[in-house]
């Protein structure tokens, strides 16, 4: 009898605990869910022949973390991503499985636009090219980074040439060069984002690219209006609101990252969000870590 009572107490205790227990685990800070990884070498030794699975697991874990940040951003909650930790995890993953395409794709997608780790990303892409010798996308990504972010057109041409050879489309290098010449940088970035969007199956990554596309379309709209203003008035608009006042722009487009667009001293379109998640915005509180 005592045993049954004791068992009943334990069972009731379990039922009372299980829901708050589950909720507390679900609501752990995102950064805790991301966690950390040991160095690649010991991990490689420990994982043995399962290192390819571990590498994929690491990518999935970082992807979930980053995806949840994108979702939070959609809900107007500004969080600062753990970019250094994410990048280290990607590096570890690339050492565990240097052929893993997801590693390079995610690195390109996440550490260029917002974090501006262009040289580090290109180093990782160079590392990947030594293994994925058939994949034209890695030199294509590196070429884009060199041209768009670094303005290093010599390196870009070399990467695009390699991408063209690997893709079996010799015209690719010429077309890319012509495209860069004829269109503006923003137009080129839009084309690149559409390419990246087509080459993923992950809905959160697609959502991320939607953010960027909206931002770039807004920038492109303002840039074109600034050009029209110059042609019409022979001078650059002092403020972005002058575009609206002149009747050339119905309203200043919204920045999907939550910031406000403005023109810098050179007349270049900028945003207070720096077109990045967690970019500081006037009057908005920045949460260094998600502790809500």
């Amino acid at each position: 009898m005592i045993g049954r009572i004791f068992f009943g107490i334990l069972l009731c205790g379990y039922l009372a605990v299980i829901l708050p227990f589950s909720a507390s685990l679900t609501n752990r800070p995102i950064v805790v869910k991301l966690g950390t990884l040991p160095e690649a070498e010991p991990l490689k030794m420990m994982a043995g022949d399962h290192r390819y699975l571990v590498a994929q697991y690491v990518v999935a874990k970082v992807l979930f973390y980053y995806g949840s940040l994108v979702e939070h951003h959609s809900n107007k909650l500004v969080l600062e991503p753990e970019y250094p930790n994410m990048f280290k995890m990607m590096q570890t993953s690339s050492k565990l499985d240097p052929w893993n395409a997801d590693v390079y794709y995610f690195t390109q997608a996440s550490f260029t636009w917002e974090v501006n780790k262009i040289r580090e990303v290109n180093e990782m892409l160079d590392y990947g090219m030594r293994y994925r010798t058939w994949d034209y996308q890695l030199p294509f990504f590196a070429g884009f980074n060199s041209a768009y972010f670094l303005k290093d057109f010599t390196s870009a041409a070399s990467y695009f040439k390699k991408a063209a050879e690997l893709s079996g489309q010799p015209l690719m290098a010429n077309l890319t060069a012509r495209y860069m010449y004829e269109s503006g940088q923003t137009q080129m970035a839009l084309g690149f984002i559409e390419f990246m969007q087509k080459h993923t199956t992950d809905t959160k990554m697609i959502q991320l690219y939607e953010f960027r596309k909206k931002a770039l379309v807004a920038v492109l709209t303002i840039e074109r209006t600034v050009g029209e203003y110059r042609r019409r008035f022979g001078t650059a608009p002092p403020k972005i609101s002058d575009l609206v006042a002149s009747g050339l722009l119905a309203q200043v487009p919204d920045d999907p990252y939550g910031g406000s667009f403005f023109l810098d001293e050179k007349g270049v379109v900028r945003s207070t969000s720096k077109l990045a998640f967690g970019g500081r915005q006037p009057g908005q509180k920045m949460h260094q870590r998600e502790t809500q």
Partner: protein
């Protein structure tokens, strides 16, 4: 029918009746159903992830089967005093050990073939959802499964060595796991120590590491997962050397197991 064949058949019959193995096998087959769904976690390489998951599931199941059956087979017969009645007859202990070994090796082969066939279907389903740029190289996949199987047969021979000398289940069980982990990492450690990073190590430490490297089984050589996952070319010379390494190492371990068990006092 030879005495070896008798022991072999008896051991096979015993394994087929083992309910724990039934359970493991059913769980492994069920895990195959999850592969197409789990493969969608990849952004760009659904097919590659399906192959990775299939090979990892196969490898894990073979490891569990090898360690459990290899560690328990001789020990269980000694515990049940089955060996006293059987080995009291004019039969060779070598036949007893080899009969059990080849029965378990056959079980592993059947499991590998069945799971590889199941993986084939699972990968096909995953690929039908998101076709890859480079199709699966099924020859590489089959070779990777074969070498994975050989790896666990080699581990089985080591478990038999421990089993032949041990009076407990735990030594062969934990010993096989420890050897498996060490043998899986030995190539990495060897390359690390003999590389530029190893210059900081004392010469004696480097020599010890090299010695341990040559004594331990090298399981890394049997890992052909990248070739199967990414359709990388296989190197026939390396495969042949690995095959010869397998034959020599397994043969030595089996000889040691038979020798140890023949000298063991069972009374």
């Amino acid at each position: 029918m030879s005495r070896f064949e008798n022991f072999f058949r008896l051991s096979v019959a015993s394994l087929v009746r083992d309910r724990l193995l039934h359970l493991l096998f059913v769980l492994a087959v069920l895990s195959l159903f999850l592969i197409p769904a789990f493969s969608l976690f990849s952004m760009r390489q659904v097919q590659e992830l399906a192959v990775t998951l299939s090979l990892s599931a196969l490898s894990f199941l073979l490891l569990v089967l090898t360690v459990l059956t290899g560690a328990s087979s001789i020990w269980r017969d000694v515990e049940r005093r089955y060996t006293f009645s059987v080995l009291g007859l004019p039969v060779s202990r070598a036949d007893f050990v080899l009969g059990k070994f080849f029965a378990i090796a056959l079980l592993l082969a059947v499991v590998a073939v069945v799971l590889a066939a199941g993986s084939f279907v699972a990968i096909k389903i995953a690929v039908s959802v998101y076709p890859a740029d480079i199709p699966v190289n099924w020859l590489n996949f089959a070779v990777a499964v074969c070498f994975d199987y050989l790896k666990y047969v080699l581990l089985l021979s080591l478990a038999f060595v421990f089993s032949a000398v041990s009076t407990s289940f735990y030594l062969p069980f934990l010993g096989a796991i420890a050897i498996f982990m060490a043998g899986s990492a030995s190539q990495e450690v060897y390359e690390f120590v003999t590389g530029s990073a190893g210059k900081d190590f004392a010469p004696l430490a480097r020599s010890v590491v090299k010695l341990v490297y040559y004594v331990l089984p090298n399981f890394a050589a049997f890992d052909l997962k990248p070739q199967a996952i990414y359709a990388l070319p296989l190197v026939p010379g390396t495969l042949l050397l690995t095959l010869l390494y397998f034959v020599c190492y397994t043969g030595i371990m089996l000889s040691l197991a038979v020798w140890s068990f023949s000298r063991r006092e069972l009374s």
